[in-house]
Amino acid sequence: MTVMTYADAAKAALAEEMRRDPLVWAVGEDLGRGGVFGQYKGLVEEFGPDRISDAPISEAAIMGASVGAAMAGTRPVVEMRFADFALCAVDELVNQAAKARYMLGGQTNVPMVIREPMGIWRSSAAQHSQSLESWYTHIPGLVVVVPSTPADNKGLLKSAIRSDDPVVYLEHKNIWGVEGDVPDEDILLPFGKARIEREGADISIVSWSAQLHVASEAAENLQKKGISAEVIDLRTLWPWDKEAVFSSVEKTGRLLITHESVAVGGFGAEIAATVSEHMFKALKHPVRRCAAPRVPISYAPPLEDMVRVTANNIVDVATTMMDSGN
């Protein structure tokens, strides 16, 4: 175990995989100087500029060329810089990378990892703050990964690099600096296996990515109010760990899902719909979502905060759920 930041854990994962497999390479703008968040710092020195490759400001080509490079036998790790800029390369991801294997009748795989730093991060405003994880869950062919801790960021990135299918790998910008214990060994976390962040008996709180930390904070506060919350970190949204959520809800009878992204059309709706259907009898209270309003992200902090889902929001909703359980 070593204490590392979320960013460094991902760097360690990438370096290990690049040492293991010469076909793994990373490409994106400014990678040679460490990437815009320093998450590639030092790698060009070890692996050289062909494998830690700079790129022109050409998101469509970064993504599209990587699709071709993946089909032709390499394993690109694609850096999109901000998840918002990945919107410049959606045809390449959704019409090409995600569909190729199926549409070409299994003649090819498209093993690539698309790293998209997402989320609200210090007054970055509407074009640098978005979280669109739910979009990707809707696209057949894509794996969707949303790590929340340094250890997970290592174990999941390594699995993503070894995946034979395209993986949308959404790191959250606000937790680059969060530290935690990271296993030194070759840890590979499976997709679709949630992590119980905290056990509890009264209510299940499901979350992922940076919002998981907000959920944990809420659980702490709920504890003080005598409410015991189980916090589940989904880690990956496709596949997602239905079983873990179901068995928690079986125990608690209450489910609250919280995410930073917009509630309407968010992945919380998928979980709520699924649990409401399959766990109908077990539910003591309707499933609740605690997610963002349908509003772009503002620049000014007080306005930005207005669309942020806080621990207080979660505590309030969870508390109502306890009070009005039927």
Partner: protein, 346 residues
């Protein structure tokens, strides 16, 4: 069919109407391939009229010299990326027309298992990485295939064929710039057939076109008569040689004409019949045949290419018609390794 010469065999090489050092056997093969492409597409058009091709198909009739001239110059381990109008390219790259026809009919044994159809035809066993239903998308993908070659260190190349309409989408700029920056072994070929669907391409194109754009992106570029198999073949051969010897990406603009409608079902009433008639005079297959006749090749053998090709494709079509549908479980296969595709469905 082996190459046979008629009586005029010798003198012909002195005649001015055929190029110096004319390699008869080479063009005899091109002629054969062009006829097979034509026959494949005429048969596909029949299948379309018969209601057996279910999605849209785009015929490359009149553009066969480009397909043959480009793709027969590629090695099997070279990569090819094509367009919605890609039957000819695919065939000339070495794909089996039987599995292609099965694919067009969406049958079992289709090269994409019936899941892709004409617009997604691909044959990875011969390096053909796919047609594409999205105009221009393959330009970046081809650049990336070239990137993989560079990273892996091979002597093969990547080739991308696209239409004149495709030069107006962003990937043209991004993909060519990419290939230029990373000095990738990529051959870009633009088929300037005058149309983009029902639109005269030039009306929607500012500037002189693909060649100048490619040059401005640092890619050496040439322009040829795409209906002249000799011009295409020689230019492509030379450029591939330069690419293989580390010369970086190249661009070739091939002037041609789309003799049929945009799709096999498009009567193309938006253009003058006389323009089409005029263009037919420039049919690349007839031109190649004339050349070979002048070079002394027996006309009956050249005619044989056509009849053989037609009966080959007819037989293929007949077999395809008999083929069953793909097995239903394929619908859920090859989506991806993780997760159950049926989750929450129905």
């Amino acid at each position: 069919m082996v190459l046979r010469y008629g009586a005029i065999e010798k003198e012909i090489f002195l005649s001015s109407s055929i190029p110096v050092n004319f390699d008869v056997e080479r063009y005899f093969n091109h002629h054969k391939m062009m006829n097979r492409i034509r026959a494949f597409e005429e048969t596909a058009a029949t299948a379309n009229n018969d209601g057996l091709v279910l999605g849209a198909i785009h015929l490359s009739i009149g553009q066969e010299a480009i397909a043959s001239g480009v793709c027969q110059n590629l090695e099997k381990d070279d990569f090819l990326l094509s367009t919605h109008r890609g039957h000819g390219h695919t065939l000339a790259k070495g794909a089996d027309p039987q599995t292609m026809m099965l694919e067009l009919l969406g049958r079992k044994g289709g090269i994409c298992q019936g899941k892709g159809g004409s617009m997604h035809i691909a044959d990875f066993s011969v390096g053909m990485l796919g047609a594409n239903g999205v105009v221009s998308a393959n330009i970046n993908i081809a650049a990336g295939a070239g990137h993989a070659i560079k990273l892996k260190g091979g002597n093969n190349i990547s080739c991308c064929i696209f239409g004149d309409g495709a030069i107006n989408r962003g990937p043209f700029l991004e993909g060519l710039n990419w290939a230029g920056v990373f000095e990738l072994p990529v051959l870009f070929v633009c088929e300037k057939n005058g149309f983009a669907s029902t639109t005269v391409t030039e009306a929607m194109t500012s500037g002189e076109g693909g060649k100048q754009r490619a040059q401005s992106l640092g890619i050496p570029a040439e322009e040829v008569d795409g209906n002249d198999i000799v011009e295409v073949d020689e230019c492509v051969r030379q450029n591939i040689k330069e690419i293989r010897s580390g010369g970086g990406p190249r661009f070739i603009l091939c002037n041609t004409y789309r003799l049929h409608g945009h799709t096999a079902s498009d009567p193309a009433l938006y253009r003058e019949q006389e323009d089409v008639d005029e263009a037919w005079k420039n049919d690349p297959i007839s031109k190649c045949r004339d050349l070979l006749k002048n070079a002394g090749v027996l006309d009956e053998d050249l005619k044989g290419h056509q009849t053989d090709a037609l009966s080959e494709m007819q037989a293929i079509y007949n077999r395809a018609k008999q083929a069953p549908w793909p097995e239903l479980q394929l619908a859920y296969e090859d989506v991806q390794d993780s997760g159950d595709p049926r989750e929450e469905a129905f």
